[in-house]
């Protein structure tokens, strides 16, 4: 028999009284392990169909087969395999098991292309619909498609289906289609901050509102960003790891957040520090690097969204797919949100044609590190104790604070998010639960003076973490390193990124203080090593038993009883996790950047773009497609994933639009620039 390859995709269908089948969802089993199918929300595959009970079925997935077992004690309504009632069976491709006569579960055959039809529902939306904020995924992490009932009825999952089957679609055919919604010059896809900054540039360069459309899920451009901030413990009054002049609401970078903060504090009695401007003057030698408050950034974006007419350009919908048209443009298929469709006679599927496209779809998905994901699959009852720092997990802090009993939390990772999570835990320790113990697990020791070296410079190290004010050395944004990296060949670039990137945190005196105090008082402990084994704690001392393999002179194993693990090792952006991008990359064979240094196996990262952020493989006659943000990572510009990086990429691509003679895009010389700046100051439309 053929071996199964992971991820294994299962299909769930509901069987109606008449025997008619209705598709429920595809389920992806990412790795070998034990999964449960049942009615409870903490089952790894929750199925809400009457007749299915909690923990109904246990699936043991291995490369040989998926072995099904009914839960201990059996189920009332039974499980059927090949028509016979069974309590255990092995599922192979082509076979099917029926649960309680109402749900059929089958495995997709080997070699079947599962990728093309699968639509991933972005994690954020799943989180929002959840009622269990502690785990952040009320719907299982494994379910990869859950279309709504009315979409199922219309075969909506397939849209735009055959219409977009080829590489090129005919404009004439599109105009005949019932989903045809119109044509526009400039089309921004995603609706996030990346799109916003691009549209902001277009507007100040001279493009009128009527020539621009933006498609996105959240009307507020920073909504998704703010969610990530909140999850990783940056509420509005906390400061972001960003620069004073990284101002996504202002094309010129002036006045920056520091001068605005000082001005407001001095003359308007606003929040913040009057000395902010002196921090910028003194940073980083005389003062800590200035960073703006999240809330101030969002407020400034609110103002600029209103000023440039963002809401008049905005279409509330989800982007599905894009194709080149036969007249040198692009067709974009999208599905309106329910509310937006209500104003459109209930018609949700739409196609719009544009000539200049900007893709700013952001992080395709937050991926959970494999070992913790495995634990959660194998131990559904303990899922809530193992947390990804980017998922909502405020309930955990609340539980820790309220319990008052001894609680041990393990933080894994040493980046900026680890610092934030640590800060939040210390706040709980100080305010509500003095019995909180923090164990900080880092991969290896980082002695003082052991920081990365690049040319003549060396990165400083403090408390085992490399210190850098921002996520790249400053000169990557607009200094010598920006130009150097742009000029480098791909291999050299990969090697440089390996040195300049890496995990770093910012130097903040309050963070230093909390580490020193915690160490002195004994409630903060550091370990170097990796998790060797993670199981539910049988001894009753805590929720989890962690065996850590320490890396010192000799390898040692250490058993740690922890109540929670918060993983801060990062947000993994993989463009193929976005069905929209995956389809583009595959249809047009778009090259991707490679993060692997010379001689190592390829590690593909972002979609390859020119220094003007154009995706060359998508060029179509006079049509051009640009991208921004993390999806272009590993290319000619390092700091794509930052406010200032988004400003840079917008500037480059809109300047490029001028050179290709896009309508209304001026050259934006000194006088036009000054004139527009004055309008910005006055708060009047560009």
């Amino acid at each position: 028999m053929d071996k199964l390859t992971f991820p294994i995709v299962l299909t769930l269908e509901e069987i109606g009284a008449s025997g008619a089948r209705r598709f429920i969802s595809h389920v992806e089993l990412p790795v070998e392990g034990t999964y449960t199918v049942g009615a409870a929300t903490d089952d790894s595959v929750p199925v809400s169909v009457a007749g299915i009970s909690r923990g109904h079925l246990i699936l043991e997935a291995s490369a040989d087969a998926i072995v099904l077992r009914e839960r201990d004690g059996g189920t009332t309504n039974g499980t059927f395999f090949n028509g016979e009632r069974v309590t255990a069976a092995a599922l192979v491709p082509g076979s099917e098991v029926v649960l309680a006569n109402v749900v059929a579960l089958s495995i997709r055959g080997a070699g079947q292309d599962t990728a093309t039809k699968i639509q991933e529902q972005p994690k954020q939306e799943r989180q929002e619909s959840g009622s269990r904020p502690s785990s952040g995924s009320s719907i299982s992490d494994y379910i990869i498609v859950r279309p709504g009932a009315e979409e199922r009825a219309r075969g909506g999952d397939e849209f735009p289906g055959g219409l977009f089957a080829g590489e090129i679609v005919s404009t004439a055919a599109l105009r005949q289609h019932e989903a045809y919604a119109g044509e526009v010059d400039f089309l921004a896809l995603g609706g996030g901050i990346g799109n916003f900054v691009w549209v902001d540039h277009l507007r100040v360069y001279g493009v009128p509102i009527s020539n621009i459309r933006v498609i996105g899920i959240d009307r507020i451009c920073y909504k998704n960003y703010e969610r990530y901030c909140l999850n990783s413990q940056i509420p509005r009054h906390e400061r972001l790891r960003s620069n004073a002049i990284s101002v996504p609401d202002n094309v010129w970078g002036f006045p920056g957040y520091a001068s605005r903060e000082s001005f407001n504090a001095l003359f308007r009695g606003g929040k913040g520090s009057a000395g902010a401007i002196f921090e910028v003057f003194g940073e980083p030698t005389l003062a800590q690097s200035y960073t703006p408050m999240a809330g101030e950034v969002f407020k400034s974006l609110d103002k600029e969204m209103a000023r440039i007419g963002w809401f008049d350009m905005f279409i509330n919908g989800r982007i599905l797919s894009m194709r080149k048209t036969d007249d040198g443009r692009y067709a974009v298929a999208y599905r309106l949100t329910r509310e937006a469709a209500a104003a459109n006679n209930g018609q949700r599927e739409q196609i719009v044609i544009g000539r200049y496209i900007h893709i700013g779809t952001g992080y395709p998905a937050t991926r959970f590190v494999e070992d913790l994901q495995n634990f959660r699959s194998a131990n559904p009852s303990h899922r809530d104790y193992v947390i990804n720092a980017y998922d909502p997990h405020d309930a955990v802090y609340d539980a820790i604070g309220r319990s008052g009993k001894p609680v041990t939390v393990m933080i894994r990772g040493r980046g900026i998010v680890a610092s934030r999570v640590h800060q939040r835990l210390v706040a709980e320790h100080d305010r509500r639960n003095a019995n909180l113990r923090i164990i900080h697990l880092m991969r290896s020791e980082k002695p003082y003076g052991d920081g990365a070296k690049f040319r003549r410079a060396k990165r400083p190290v403090f408390n085992d973490v490399e210190i850098q004010p921002f996520n790249w050395p400053k000169a990557c944004w607009g200094g010598s390193l920006r130009a150097d990296i742009e000029r480098m060949a791909p291999e050299e670039r990969a090697e440089t990124f390996e040195i300049l990137g890496g995990t770093t945190t910012a130097e903040r005196s309050d963070w230093t203080e909390m580490i020193e105090r915690g160490t002195r008082e004994g409630w903060y402990v550091k370990y170097y090593g990796s998790i060797e084994r993670l199981v539910p704690d049988e001894s009753g001392k805590a929720n989890l038993e962690v065996r850590v393999k320490t890396r010192s002179a000799t390898t040692e194993y250490r058993e740690i009883h922890a109540d929670y693990i918060i993983d801060c090792t990062g947000l993994i952006g993989d463009v193929t996790r976005s069905p929209f991008l995956k389809d583009l990359v595959e249809t047009y064979h778009l090259p991707r950047n490679n993060a692997a240094p010379h001689g190592e196996p390829a590690r593909l990262t972002g979609i390859s773009v020119t220094p003007d952020f154009e995706i060359l493989g998508l060029q179509n006659g006079h049509g051009h497609v640009y991208a921004a943000g993390q999806i272009t990572g590993g290319g000619p510009y390092a700091a794509v994933d930052s406010f200032l990086g988004l400003q840079y990429s917008a500037l480059r691509s809109v300047d490029h639009l001028h050179t290709v003679r896009a309508p209304f895009v001026s050259s934006f010389g000194p006088l036009k620039s000054f004139g527009q700046w004055v309008r910005w100051c006055q708060g009047v439309a560009p």
Partner: protein, 151 residues
């Protein structure tokens, strides 16, 4: 700031032409009692010497910048070294190194105050320009390592 050598030179030249010369003229004109024909050309010579000293020191700054992990040049450094440059110019005058700028310009405290006033008249607006006003006109400057032109 994260300038390159070329960026430093170009920006220095830009500030010299756009702010240095007009402000020097203004200062000298006021000093001459608003009589254009009575303007002291020594002010212009001081400005040129200041420019040349800075021009020569720029490679040194770039070399130092290379030791900084961020490859940046904080505003405080810029501020501090501007006064160093001014100090060097004063020393060149005081010790009669330059035949065209005799030391009698600094023969008394008043002479020093006049030169200091000139320096501050040029330096303060130039420094503010670096803090952000250049960007209002030249939107690409901050991404081009202080070099002029398009990206």
């Amino acid at each position: 700031m994260t300038p390159t050598l070329l960026g430093r030179w170009q920006t220095r030249l830009l500030l010299f032409l756009v702010l240095g010369l007009p402000l020097t003229f203004l200062y000298a004109w006021i000093y001459a009692g608003f009589d254009v024909f009575d303007i002291d050309t020594n002010f212009f010579l001081v400005l040129v010497v200041l420019f040349v000293v800075g021009f020569i020191l720029d490679p040194v700054y770039i070399w130092l910048q290379g030791f900084r992990w961020d490859h940046d040049w904080p505003f405080a450094f810029q501020f501090f070294f501007s006064f160093i440059e001014f100090g060097i110019v004063l020393a060149l005058i005081y010790f009669d190194v330059l035949w065209f700028l005799p030391s009698f310009l600094l023969s008394d405290f008043d002479g020093f105050l006049v030169i200091l006033g000139h320096f501050l008249t040029v330096f303060i607006p130039s420094f503010l320009a670096l803090l952000g006003f250049i960007q209002i006109f030249l939107v690409r400057w901050r991404f081009k390592a202080a070099e002029l032109g398009r990206l």
